[in-house]
Amino acid sequence: MVAGVQVVAADDGHAREVRSNVRVSIERALREIPFYVKRGARLATEGSLAKALASLPLLHKKDIRATLPKQWVPAGRDLKADLASGAIEIVETAGSTGERARVLHDAGWWARQEARALRTNAVVARALGSEVGASPRLAVLAMPATGTRSCNAGDLAYEERLTGSVLALSQRPDPTYWKPAEMARMIAELSRHATVGLIADPMHLAVLARYAARQGQTLDVRGFIALTHATTTAAALRAIKAVSSVPVLQVYSAREVGTLFVQGEDGRLYHAPFDAPFTTHVELLPVKVATPGAANVALVVVTTLDREAQPLVRYVVGDLVQVERDAPRGPSDVAALVSLEGRVDDAIVRGDGALVTAGALDRALADVDGVALFQANQRTPEQVDVDVVCDDSGGSIDAERVVRDVRAALTVLLAGLAVDVRTVSALAAEASGKVRIARRAFPLDYAATFEIGEVGL
């Protein structure tokens, strides 16, 4: 029994059934979806599922960007009518690294799978109640769909930001420019909404949390806080926990594939939902190169199992994770995760070929006093520039000392690279509203970096 998670013993019969479902889903997608039909992809019928999957190419975001929506609905369906009736929805993904995409969701799919997945965590399940599909009072703090940008929709009233019982809190895309009045409104609305669960971008929530702390306030969230949308840094987590009294958990999801992993009370992230029917099959492709500061790093590759519109086969979400090899596995047989390690496109590449994940950078800086936020920028293969936003909430801070400490903390991790550290007032948010803690300006050779083949963790 893992704290907070109902672990179902891996049963051979059940596992066989799961693997069979994966095959069925993939074969249907390859048979019915024009995108795959045009490419003539075939799933090997002999051998293990892993081997069969390895015979299929990886699917990247750029592949689906250019082909939506027509190539992604089953042959014979009237896309126009489905969109008009709401049977299929077009959803914009923010794109952590500026790679936006549109995806197709079957009507209500996102809410259904999210509600089931969140209940993987026992605390969340208790907070939301046992009834799947109920309308819990949630608030979302992330990039607003509308807001006071140039020639946009302007501010919306509380009632206008409600979708059912889900409240969209933020109206400004970049938290760097949030005004005190804006943050005071959000804090007040958490109470007004009697918020059971807050689903938040951790970087955005950390800004709100630090403001609340300065005002001597707490965040009135009554059940749980789920951090999603981005890597959560140690400093952000500290700031959030300082003003909240409910469990804070990490949720790993992506608009394209739904909720993949939910953190349990033991700190590990478990493939979600934790019971059948499963919504995804996840492959964790090991990294072939050294990953200093992180162990068992893998690339997340997802095959969706319950989508009529736009089923994705071996889709590269673009994230790295640390895999827990020895943790108990549930019926889906997907290993638990120790941590989310950030985007592949964020990882720093050393001269010796080693890959330094955003997560490894954050762990190296976790104990450096005075760091509120940082961003490591690898503009060239030889040079990394590290911008540090100081946390002066405890009084004045010695910026030169922070710079020295950050440089020292990164010495081993970024060995062989020229590292320039400086303090800045704030970090620039991406067009998506997300704040990256690392950026790399040149591409990575996937085949040279990952075990693309049949070996999975």
Binding site: S150, R172, T176, V424, A428, A431
Partner: protein
């Protein structure tokens, strides 16, 4: 960057040449970064000593501007396409760079066309009337003179014969009608640094806001607006290695929150509902004060310039500045027939800038500056430097101004000193 330490030997008996090695180290390493410095002028290798007018641009700034044109030309804060996102990100990053340089919050910075517009914005935003007094040194640049002459009752602080303000008089000039004290951080004529701490202390006691014109300080001094505790700080990009057409106004949040509208139009409005139906919703500051499409490429270049300076380090720049000032003053001081304004103010209280009067028969000071260019390939300023009142009160018919910067070596100063000596002779 290369790091050669070539030094030029002492000329004209310059007594400061003993310490030239460390002084030239930084300059020699940076010179290859400035394409302009490799050209010739009038058959000579270029000696650029006019950075107080505008600085040459380093390669990183030129590249940043070119990159925008070549790779992501798009409007900012408006486009929904990928190019718009890229341009917006580069543009927004520039504001963060400048914020980091000044130790300001990004939302305390308004991008404007330059220091002149920044000061005019403050003059407009304070809604001054003809009875409102603004105290400022009589020696100020027109940018920090005319807004108060046009919009308020100007109260110039008297200056001495060299154009240095008589700061001890400032308190006596403050009245209940004083709405602002506006001071050039560094004089564009004498190069002397204003005693900002003392001025701010006086202003705080009297509850008067302080504007600091940082046109000449941004690229020379470490500037921390929090430590300085000024209410406003105005500066231009082009005097700090960036493109022209963009500058910045820092205003404390509480000050900016009280600003009336400046210019209106696209970019500063969230919603403009139809008359009688919808409402007018403005964007938050600072965007509220940035109407119209901004100088996108210039701003991106400004960000690159600030990054360039921060990479060198403002402390290192200042150290070079002090040494260069000493070398420049000593060199010019050896020439009989040359009078340096405020020449007795030590290097620690001024930037690398010397304005002087050349006693050359039948030549105006403007003639001298032209001769330096035409005969020796040396660029300096000549004339009144937008400070007519200073020159009138100091009874000067113009002056010559040499303003070196981090890329200048002692060799450049030696050539200036030799050339001026030849003209005088």
């Amino acid at each position: 960057m290369t790091t050669t330490t070539t030094t030029t030997g002492p000329t004209n008996g310059n007594p400061a040449s003993a310490s030239t090695t460390s002084l030239n180290h930084l300059a020699e390493s940076l010179r290859p970064e400035f394409p302009l410095l490799s050209r010739e002028l009038s058959g000579h290798g270029l000696v650029f000593l006019d950075s107080a007018s505008t600085t040459p641009k380093p390669r990183v700034v030129i590249d940043a501007v070119s990159h925008y044109y070549a790779s992501c030309t798009a409007n900012v804060h408006r486009g929904v396409h990928g190019l718009g996102d890229e341009a917006t990100q580069l543009y927004d990053a520039a504001r963060l760079e400048v914020a980091g340089l000044l130790n300001a919050a990004p939302d305390e910075l308004v991008f404007v066309r330059g220091a002149t517009e920044a000061i005019n914005l403050v003059a407009h935003a304070l809604a001054l009337t003809a009875d409102d007094e603004v105290v400022f040194p009589a020696s100020e640049h027109h940018a920090n003179w005319l807004p108060w002459r046009v919009r308020a009752a100007p109260v110039p602080i008297p200056i001495d014969g060299d154009g240095v303000p008589r700061w001890e008089m400032i308190e006596s000039l403050i009245t209940p009608r004083t709405k602002l004290i506006s001071v050039g951080h560094v004089s564009n004529v004498t190069g002397v640094i204003a005693p900002v701490e003392e001025i701010v202390a006086i202003a705080r006691r009297r509850g008067i806001p302080v504007l600091l014109d940082g046109a000449q300080s941004l690229s020379h001094l470490p500037v921390d607006v929090k430590k300085l505790d000024v209410d406003f700080y105005a500066a231009s990009s082009h005097k700090a290695f960036g493109p022209s057409g963009v500058g910045v106004l820092f205003a404390k949040r509480e000050r900016m929150a009280k600003f009336g509208l400046y210019q209106v139009g696209g970019g500063m409005v969230a919603v403009n509902g139809d008359l009688g139906i919808g409402e007018l919703v403005l964007r938050d500051p600072p965007f509220r004060f940035e109407a119209g499409t901004p100088a996108i490429e210039a701003t991106i270049g400004f960000g690159a310039a600030v990054r360039f300076m921060r990479k060198i380090g403002m402390t290192a720049i200042r150290a070079h500045d002090v040494q260069m000032t000493d070398y420049l003053l000593r060199g010019l001081g050896t020439i009989s027939g040359v009078r340096i304004l405020a020449g007795d103010v030590p290097a620690s209280r001024r930037i690398a800038l010397a304005t002087f009067v050349v006693d050359a028969p039948a030549m105006t000071q403007e003639n001298v500056a032209r001769a330096l260019s035409d005969m020796f390939g040396i660029c300096v300023s000549g004339g009144f430097h937008c400070t007519h009142v200073l020159h009138a009160r100091a009874k000067l018919d113009g002056t010559v101004r040499a303003s070196p910067h981090i890329f200048n070596t002692t060799g450049d100063i030696d050539r200036l000193v030799e050339a001026v000596a030849e003209i005088v002779g």
